[in-house]
Amino acid sequence: VAGSVLQERPSFASTAATSISLAYASNLTAGSLQHVFGTCDGTKDFAATPVSDSKGTAFGATLDNVNDGTNQQRIGHWASSAVTSGADTVTVFFNASAAFNGIWIKEVGGVSSIDKTTGANQQTPTTGTDSTSSGQTSTLTSQPALVSGLSMRTAGGSGPNVGTGFTDTWGALDWSTQARSENKRVTSTAGVAATFTALANVAHTTIVAVFREPGPYIAVVNPRRFVETQTGISIIGAAFGAAQGTLKICPTDNVADANAVSQTVTAWGDTSITFTAVAGTGSLGSGATSYVFVTDTGALSNASGYPVNFAVTAKLAWTKA
């Protein structure tokens, strides 16, 4: 299942509060993660325990906490671990009586963990298309991934339009807030930004989180040391998919390595693969560590390559291993 936002809701208040709570409209789906945004008067901050839910789901540390010191409006965000199914209410807590507070909750399905995040305040983002931006994340650990962003017009007024390629899964421009939410799925590990188009060239704060989709998992390659044309090498793991995808070995721990060599698959199952080693014409077979990647038919690969020693001859393999 591809990563997507299953449901979301906002709530905002101008009146000072110490906490604000919001229930999901529908029961959560087991295994989903949550992406929660909070905002408050920038002279205040989030509490030491800034977010919790009625299920007792674990939330990680604050991902980003960006304050517009000119307009005194703060935005933070958090991601939860996998949830259990059922009704849930999320609360954001402030460290003092904080006005202009709010919460935006998202249930994100088809993802396994948080990957990269970033955020930025722009005082004059211009009204150019996609000029309102969180800034680029660092290179993603894996792909595909779900990009979840939010931008708030901290100077006041209507929030921005969503950026190119993004989807506004909440709906029409909100009637009460200065914020806008957006999401998109990416299939590249290049760094990514949440971009919006501001309706006025005034201050906005934009933050983004990238969630990794779960991919194949390799538990073991047996034998771990092998030579070219060796048959019967087995891979044991999970989520390879029932239908045959692709298997390759890369000279670096990078699924996109240009010198990757496809291997000859002789048996494929969801939890096991058997193959015959192919060295190709590149640098594989030198006996140096190489990396095995399984890619399913949905283009999902194991997050990190499984290290093996691959040599052209048995002598080299056993010497180097």
């Binding site: 709530s11 906490s19 604000i20 307009n71 009637w175």
Partner: protein
């Protein structure tokens, strides 16, 4: 959709304890949320949490209710973004699942210390 008043709680001196629930009629099927326009006066407390406002939602004309949202209002002057002291505030909550013709909301208040508060609840 157009803002439409559903519940009115006049500006009232509230003592510690539970107030409500104050229940709406059937809400418009095309609403995108609800909004509470709050009013206080110069006697608003100066320290601590003051009251918790909770909203429940029914999708079966009031036969069953489920928690929907809450906010714990705290002490100190209410201010506009420019710092001006004011006596009004707004709390807005977005709703999905448009199209229901059997939806109601009800509002309860847990007053934690004496205060004066009024509220107008509207569908939007």
């Amino acid at each position: 959709m157009a803002k439409a008043t559903q519940i009115t709680v006049p500006l009232t001196s509230l003592t510690v304890g539970q107030r409500g629930p104050f229940t709406s009629g059937l809400l418009p099927s095309n609403l995108t949320g609800y909004m509470l326009d709050l009013t206080n006066d110069a006697t608003w407390p100066t320290s601590g949490d003051v009251l918790k406002i909770s909203v429940e939602q029914s999708n079966d004309s009031g036969a069953t209710w489920a928690f929907d949202a809450s906010i714990t209002l705290s002490a100190g002057p209410w201010r506009a973004k420019d710092g001006t002291v004011i006596n009004t505030g707004v709390w807005s909550v977005g709703l999905q699942n448009q199209g229901s013709a059997t939806r109601k909301i009800r509002v309860s208040m847990d007053v934690l210390q004496p205060c004066v508060l009024g509220a107008v609840v509207s569908s939007v």
